[in-house]
């Protein structure tokens, strides 16, 4: 507080300082623009009030205070304009918006001068009174517009009306996001938009289970509405973006800062966050500056794009007031995916092995525990789904009609989990035969507790991409395992409570991608389990306690 008083008292001296060291001094003076600017606003409104009172009372002579107030308002406006021009030197503001405010402000000061002249003329020639009043009213309107433009400049567009009722232009409340989502629509044509929900109308998981809105309900029916900031993307793990074809280079080998990221920054970011301007105190034109971050702190959390504002602010929907770049089109989906993938991969500024690596690869210190930060690690599921054709919707309908449940496992809906544990009629070979038509789409299959028999498992050979297989609590025995030998992709096999024994277990020896095998309550002995473990050293063989 005392410092503020000192500065105010010495303000005239500051003008000298400005002369001595122009750029610093001007910036210093400029900061007083918001302090001073409200003075002429108040004074001009006071002139209007005084004049309104004269009008109301029908007085012949104008109010004697009018002249003094008018001169003070105009002088204040001129000073405010001067300080405003000094503030504009800092380059922290959007030039377009700045232009509006600047010219309007100058116009107010000019209007003040004209009003003074009119005031003197009117003093002698009363018939000019309507003209003076009209000019005064116009000036007040101009003042309001200028003030609004200044407020927009300081607080950003939409600040004033953000919390207005939505019909007045307010922004509807938004739900919390894991991470701000990608733009609502890719700005470049994408050969195969992967965001489309899978075409499985009767499938009872996800979107389609919403109660259908009834026609004549008094209260508005429950209905899912899509939040203003497309949230689905928000919860998408990083690998999900990889299945967009345009991000393919990123998926292969990972994005390289110099090759993939720096050009985006140079083209779209450094105009405001670079050498000439550092909006928000952020520079994006060198690795060191990027690591330093902005006034608000780090913009980069290696491995965690959803906590890195370098990603989150470009991934906002196009109509979000906070989206970056603040001007021009949003970044393309592919560019956003590259940035995300780059941060996910640790935000390295130089490729490993590069001579720069030792100094550059060190991430800035973060408070997060390294193991605990970041979204789920990338898995093969979405990549596996990339090359796959969409599953045949007729087949899915048939499976669902029989009491099966089909759930998409990948974002493009090509990879599926099929659950046939609760079919209406007891499970038969026909149920499994149905699967063949979407065979390569099925990654998980749940037959737990069903009436599946050894012979029926022969149908599984049509499922080359099967990763998880639930056969627990079924009558499967050794002869059923014969049919599993071709399931080379299998990672999880649950045989709890089956009739499988040591004699058949050797059939699994070739399935070298198995990670978990559950054998509790089967007829397998400890010796048999040990043998399987020896054949599959990587797998966890769970034989019960």
């Amino acid at each position: 507080m005392p410092r503020a008083v000192r500065i105010l008292a010495l303000l005239p001296l500051a003008a000298l300082a400005a002369a001595a060291e122009p750029s610093r001094g001007l910036e210093f003076l400029g900061r007083f623009h918001p302090v001073v600017v409200h003075l002429p606003i108040g004074l001009l409104i006071a002139v209007a009030l005084v004049e309104a009172r004269t009008w109301w009372q029908g007085a012949r002579q104008p109010d004697p205070a009018r002249g003094v107030l008018l001169v003070a308002a105009t002088v204040g406006a001129v000073v405010a304009v001067g300080l405003g021009l000094a503030l504009a030197q800092g380059g922290e503001y959007d030039p377009d918006q700045l232009g509006w405010h600047q010219w309007l402000g100058i116009a107010v000061a000019v209007a003040g001068g004209w009003l003074i002249a009119l005031h003197h003329l009117e003093w002698r020639h009363h018939r000019l009174r309507p003209l003076f009043r009209l000019a005064l009213a116009g000036s007040v309107v101009l003042l309001g517009v200028t003030g609004h433009a200044g407020g927009t400049l300081t607080h950003g567009p939409g600040y004033l009306t953000r919390y207005a009722p939505t019909w007045l232009g307010g922004v509807p409340p938004r739900p919390a996001l894991l991470a701000p989502p990608a733009p609502t629509a890719p700005t470049e044509p994408s050969p195969a938009p992967a965001v489309e929900p899978p075409s499985m109308a009767p499938e009872p998981v996800g979107e389609v289970t919403m109660p259908s809105p009834p026609a004549n309900d008094d209260p508005p029916p429950l209905r899912p509405v899509v939040p203003p900031r497309d949230p689905g993307r928000a919860t998408t793990p990083p690998e999900a973006m990889m299945d967009e074809p345009m991000a393919a280079p990123a998926a292969a080998g990972g994005p390289d800062f110099a090759r993939d990221i720096a050009p985006i920054l140079a083209a779209r970011c450094t105009e405001c966050h670079g050498d000439t301007k550092q909006k928000g105190g952020l520079r994006l034109d060198s690795p060191a500056a990027i690591r330093t971050g902005s006034k608000k702190g780090a913009v980069l959390v290696p491995g965690a794009p959803e906590r890195s504002s370098l990603f989150t602010s470009v991934a906002l929907p196009a109509d979000d007031p906070d989206i970056m770049p603040a001007r021009g089109e949003p970044l393309s989906a592919a560019q956003i995916a590259l940035i995300k993938a780059w941060i996910s991969a640790g935000a390295l500024f130089a490729a490993p092995g590069n001579s720069e690596a030792p100094t550059q690869a060190k991430p800035p210190p973060t408070t997060a525990k390294p193991a605990a930060s970041g979204p789920p690690p990338a898995t093969a599921y979405d990549q596996l789904a990339t090359g796959l054709a969409k599953p045949d919707s007729g087949t899915i309908e048939a499976i669902t009609a029989g009491g099966g449940v089909v759930t998409p496992l990948s974002r493009n809906g090509a990879l599926l989990e099929v659950n046939l544990a609760h079919t209406r009629a007891p499970l038969t070979a026909n149920h499994l035969q149905q699967l063949a038509r979407i065979g390569s789409n099925i990654a998980w299959l749940d037959l737990a507790g069903s009436t599946v028999g050894d012979g029926m498992l022969a149908q599984l050979k049509a499922l080359p991409n099967l990763r998880r297989l639930h056969l627990e609590r079924t009558a499967i025995g050794d002869s059923g395992l014969v049919h599993l030998t071709g399931l080379k992709a299998l990672e999880y096999l649950n045989l709890v409570g089956t009739k499988v024994s040591d004699a058949g277990l050797y059939r699994l020896h070739g399935l070298d991608r198995l990670e978990r095998v559950y054998l509790w309550q089967s007829q397998v002995t400890a010796a048999g389990a040990k043998k399987l473990q020896a054949a599959l050293p990587k797998a966890q063989i769970n034989f019960g306690q």
Binding site: V110, A176, L222
Partner: protein, 434 residues
């Protein structure tokens, strides 16, 4: 930094700039900006992208009613004056100690993440319970759905004949389906060992006669239903349909604990909570997606240490057996086990050797379902008074559960009163847990 002054800037003006600036300044063109803020056109909403690949299919949600003392269970502070007589023991999770009252759980902590930095502002039982279950603060104008109802609503059933949402031993305080239609509310079960009561036909009424009666009821109601297709009417009709469907389910045996071996039943513990956990496992096995089991008696304002020891013993036995059982059956990979409570207990030990309500810091557990276990998330200060790192709000905790299930946690659902709600309010999932 540019050294150009204001005058130099004016030098840069072209004639075109001057005209544009003049127009802006003097002709009121600047007014156009004002209208820019008005809504012009509300476009079609973007279809929500499908949820990410789920890491969990089912949830077993164990609720410790009354406020579980974090200091005497999962967040001990050995050596602190606030600790009292409770000792800490090492576990199979590196660097994670838990209370000596949980010896059976200690070797299984490698599957578990202890969230130690939960924090809330609701220090009374009812609002705390409500917030934990719904992610929203309790208020007079609306009843929010509990997590299980959200799960049922957003994901649908896998087993077509069993309810998708079951609550065992939950009191009348349970928020149930809130503003969602009543068919999403949990099927309430009082006593797990008794199973599902009244699910068989009364003596003297065979299936055919029963079907005839139901058919008659449908015919009588048809006109009314068609004329008043409203939520309460639908809820009443759904109730019948669901009940009849459940009675006819071939999976009704899922409710029958007598199908389990005596040994296993004993291992879960001979009390309602342990048997409830066993029933939860059976239901999960039959693809019921969300099962809540409650254990009360944690409101230890007096005699905290003896009473917590008793309650923790019940939890220890049941949860340790549940985790081992799920693990052996290969179900822990796909089942998220949650331990939650409304708040912790105060570090200050009161005059009755008790601990009072303490929402500022408390612990919850997450295990299985794709969670990378064997660690603690967040920490409290040395007294166990407040979160010292990574504070987790209740909505964040619940968002994590929704995230694990692959649910669209940001999907906005408009309640009948026209207000928008989401599964976990503004919660942000702890994505680092997976």
């Amino acid at each position: 930094m540019s050294r150009r002054t204001a005058c130099h800037r004016l030098d840069d003006l072209s004639r075109r700039d001057l005209l544009v600036g003049g127009a802006k300044a003097l002709l009121g063109v600047g007014m156009l900006n004002l209208f820019g803020a008005l809504p012009v056109f509300a476009g079609d909403p973007e279809p929500a992208a499908p949820a990410p690949r789920p890491t969990a299919k089912n949830v077993i949600y164990l609720y410790m009613a009354g406020g579980m003392s974090h200091l005497d269970t999962f967040d001990p502070k050995p050596g602190s004056e606030t600790q009292g007589p409770t000792k800490a023991i090492a576990t199979s999770a590196d660097g994670v100690q838990i209370s000596e009252y949980l010896p059976k759980l200690a070797p299984l902590m490698k599957h578990v993440v202890v969230v130690r930095s939960l924090t809330s502002t609701q220090g009374a039982h009812e609002p705390g319970n409500y917030l934990m279950h719904t992610s929203y603060a309790q208020r007079g104008t609306i009843r929010h759905p509990a997590l299980g109802a959200w799960v049922s609503f957003l994901s649908g059933r896998i087993n077509g004949t069993l309810p998708g949402n079951v609550a065992i031993g939950a009191g009348s305080q349970h928020p149930g389906a809130g503003f969602l239609e009543s068919r999403f509310s949990p099927l309430p079960l009082g006593n797990a060992a008794a199973g599902l009561q009244h699910s068989t036909l009364p003596a003297g009424i065979d299936q055919e006669r029963f079907d005839r009666r139901m058919e008659l009821r449908k015919r009588l109601d048809a006109g009314f239903d068609a004329r008043f297709d409203q939520r309460q009417v639908r809820a009443y009709r759904d109730l019948y349909d669901e009940a009849v469907q459940l009675m006819g389910s071939k999976d009704l045996a899922a409710f029958d604990l007598s199908k389990e071996s005596e040994n296993l039943r004993d291992a879960y513990g001979e009390h309602d909570f342990g048997q409830g956990c066993l029933l939860a496992r059976r239901l999960i096995e039959h693809d019921v997606r969300f099962v809540e089991v409650q254990l009360g008696g944690w409101d230890t304002h007096d005699d905290n240490f003896d009473r917590v020891q008793t309650q923790a013993g019940i939890l220890d036995t049941a949860l340790a057996t549940l985790l081992a059982d799920l693990s052996a059956r290969g179900l822990l990979d796909e089942t998220l086990v949650v331990v939650a409570t409304e708040f912790g207990r105060s570090p200050v030990i009161n005059g009755n050797k008790g601990r009072d309500h303490h929402p500022k810091a408390f612990s919850g557990l997450l295990a299985g379902g794709g969670i990378r276990g064997g660690r603690a998330w967040g920490a409290t200060d040395e007294r166990g008074h407040a979160p010292a790192s990574d504070p987790v709000q209740i909505p964040d905790f619940n968002a994590t559960i929704g995230y694990a299930l692959g649910l669209p946690i940001d999907k906005v659902v408009v309640a009948p009163n026209g207000r928008p709600f989401t599964l976990a309010d503004k919660g942000v999932p702890l994505a680092g847990l997976f």
